[in-house]
Assembly symmetry: C2
Homo-oligomer: 418 residues x 2
Amino acid sequence: MILRKDLLSRVERVFQRYGFDPIDTPALEYWETLAGKYGEEAENRLIWRFTDKWSGREYALRYDLTVPMARFVATHRDIPMPFKRYHIGPVWRHEEPQKGRYREFYQCDADIVGSPHPEADAEIVELVIDVIRELGFSSGFKVRLNDRRLLRGIFEEELGLGDAILPVYRAIDKLDKIGVEGVRGELLKLGLQDSTVDRIIDIISIQGDPGELLGEVARRYGGNKLVADAVKHLEGIIGLVDNSSVVVDLSLVRGLDYYTGPILEVVLDKPRIGSVAGGGRYDNLIGLFTSTQIPATGASIGIERIIDAGLELGLYTLKEKTVTEAMVVVLDKGAYSYAWRVARALRKAGVRTRIDLSMASPGVQRRKAQRLGIRLLVYVGAKEAEAGTATIYDTRTRERREARLEDAGRVAKEMLGT
Amino acid sequence: MILRKDLLSRVERVFQRYGFDPIDTPALEYWETLAGKYGEEAENRLIWRFTDKWSGREYALRYDLTVPMARFVATHRDIPMPFKRYHIGPVWRHEEPQKGRYREFYQCDADIVGSPHPEADAEIVELVIDVIRELGFSSGFKVRLNDRRLLRGIFEEELGLGDAILPVYRAIDKLDKIGVEGVRGELLKLGLQDSTVDRIIDIISIQGDPGELLGEVARRYGGNKLVADAVKHLEGIIGLVDNSSVVVDLSLVRGLDYYTGPILEVVLDKPRIGSVAGGGRYDNLIGLFTSTQIPATGASIGIERIIDAGLELGLYTLKEKTVTEAMVVVLDKGAYSYAWRVARALRKAGVRTRIDLSMASPGVQRRKAQRLGIRLLVYVGAKEAEAGTATIYDTRTRERREARLEDAGRVAKEMLGT
């Protein structure tokens, strides 16, 4: 939790720096609020859904933070637009728990509601890059960028795969994992014609920096309106963000039904644990809850995978066992109530302080403090009680200082350098 | 949320100052973990409980943070004792929503596990007083203190009300609300003998400062072992805490089944919205999950009622609409990508910054910033783009400063005084 809180507060700091404000929504939503938003797998298997015994109503634990936010915006139509909100909180999925898959995990979401412009998507991309950096991954990650309109325009309209498209998307989405030949095999298994498979492979193999790649796509399929719109939108994003970690990747699909425009995903070079952030534009979602379409775009960072990855890479450790800075060690039982006043003085000065609550011997008290890694030992015995002082020992620097009761807080803060 | 986050972080700061460390537990617990811990009303009505459609297992949303913590401690037997943890998070109750009663609300809990001593309870009392003060209630509140052993020793053993005790407790618990005569009426309605009712009323009417009151109780019922133990324990607490807001109140019962020793409750003088904090000692709860009894004591602060009360008293306001400090106002469309760099520079310096994402006119951008109460307006037009500068205007002081792009962050921080 100490590591986790540190990381979550770093994420929050970046969200705030980009001008996002916090909201919260309840864990429970009515089932009908979530129904039909996420696609088949979520709907039939992954959403924690239940019937309330008392009311007979169907409820569900929120599956992400985006749909609840859409409901929130739809029911608070007086919010000034663009509405930039962040939300850090748990979501629930009925997974078989395993590494990288959890039943309860935290999402850190930032969304911009009310702007249809590439500038909003660009801000989301830049924000995500900044968050990932602030979490300690200075490089060694890629932001994969695509657009649902490219997928629809090219594969559904130009290649005419409209009817059987979902398994095709599922196959090409695996490019990163199974390579070109793997994807070719999957597509052939679907019973597609060889020539169609060749065209699909050809498209998802287009390489180059974002500008070149988009140029090539425009040359080949620019006559398609969806493709032309998407290329222009993505060029707008790339033009502002201008960051070498961003790649356009035509094989990126992402699972959620509600995306309508640019989609993005952050993957680490190592370890290979799936995406650590993802997002995109969903211009039709809020309209499902109200009569007006309100465009929106955003991203979500998954802190559990970040922690798994950071621990594996040695960026993080779990060695910090307490946030406590000082332990008042009571040397004589008779000095306890004086020691209590010392603890009170330290706390008043803002020093995070423990005092013995087990009526233990001084040796045991000291060992307990050491085991937790508490830095300052504040010795209080008959001598200190008599003199109105405390003896503060810094286990890190081995410095030892006497302080009067009324100065103990200040002296401890000095020794801690805070 | 802005107010709420501020208040929760104040609570957290105090918890940490007292040497508590954070933990988190899942929202969902197996039903059997919660069953039999809270008493009849919770069990049969207030716990959100459901059968999982896929596994057939019974789950429940956590009802408080104490029972999950007890399960946690029982399953992590290597934790060094005393274990001082805090936990700030939502709990769920199947209430009819109304003022002061919510279906989802935050609890802020701090508990000390592993110490049977009054010193631990005293620390909890002092902590709670400090939290309430840090939340802005400098006086105007009372900490009511009682002990389950006093209730059991006096009413169940000495007065022999063992069998019919629950409705008696429910009646005397209302003393604060309905007064002595009200309680007398309720007790008579239960069919108790007049002389018994007189004795009950006599006991709960004992007045005086904590020391006097406990002395009187000891004189009358000190022969009872439960009473003698409780008086000694409470005297230990009072001796250390020594705070005029603490009263011993023999009519305090508290609803939860698991308390075994001292119990406490914080009530505000006004408004009358029920308790804003409560807690007590529960030495048998952890033993329900493991073979060893592990003593524990703690308290819980309810932030929603605190917010309701603070707003009513004018201690808090909801006027802050954003945490954003600066708005980059784009004066010429042609300067947008330069303005983007200005926003980037401000964010890099830690200034919480928005930039126009609606491609709106300068007037609209400015009005949006005003409506949110954003303090700094950072004007960027063709002139600034040409000169590599930004014009920063402080809406509070009306100061206006030119800054070079590379200094914009530093200048903005200076103007904000951060």
